[in-house]
Amino acid sequence: MDFDGAVKLHIYETIAQTTQPPNTHEVAQALKAPLTEVEAAFERLHKKRLLVPEPNDPSRIRMAPPFSGVVTPFRVKMRERLYYANCAWDALGIPAALHHDALVEAYDGHSGEPITLEVTGGQPVAQPCVIHFAVPAARWWEDILYT
């Protein structure tokens, strides 16, 4: 496994276990690697769109899709843990990534009505809802925090 792969796996495994992304200092300590190398790996992983740093603090992770490093309206509960997702897609992406059933608590984007989605037995339980894509694929990463 190359260094970027080790950093990526550590980030995702840490989130899976703790629900929170590690920062560069914590990754460097865990992997016993120089901080500058971890910082460079974070930049490369950002270019590969596997993480998004905090806009004003590149040592911290805002997104490691499907996970969010901050509180969002997309709450994903599983194994007595609470994860936050970046969007509707990522809300189902968390049970897909962790291969575990989950309860997703979200809201209607217009009315604010609570919408609960359930993934059971590896499938979402049918529910009256739709997902709207406001931004075309070619522009998703122009402002990924909005998308």
Binding site: A88, A96, P124, Q127, C129
Partner: protein, 79 residues
């Protein structure tokens, strides 16, 4: 991308912002995308799908056209 109870609330959300209603997908399609995108995210070899792979994935659930093409030029200058 946001979740809505119905197409009606999508329309209301778009009207409130003065933007056109764009593609709408259902829960089964969303689950397909979630599994395809993230099913192996916690493995060594995981990566984001490349643009051509994305087009193929979207087409697999009936999502075709420039809106779903990450290389489509027309969207870089239009909203």
């Amino acid at each position: 991308m946001l979740l809505f109870r119905s197409e009606e609330t999508v329309t209301q959300w778009c009207e409130a912002r003065g933007i056109p209603v764009r593609p709408i997908i259902n829960l089964s399609q969303l689950w397909y995308l979630a599994v395809t995108w993230y099913g192996n995210r916690l493995t060594v070899d995981s990566r984001r799908p490349a643009p051509d792979e994305m087009v193929e994935i979207f087409a697999g659930i009936g999502l075709e056209g420039p809106f779903w093409d990450p290389k489509a030029d027309q969207w870089h200058s239009a909203t």
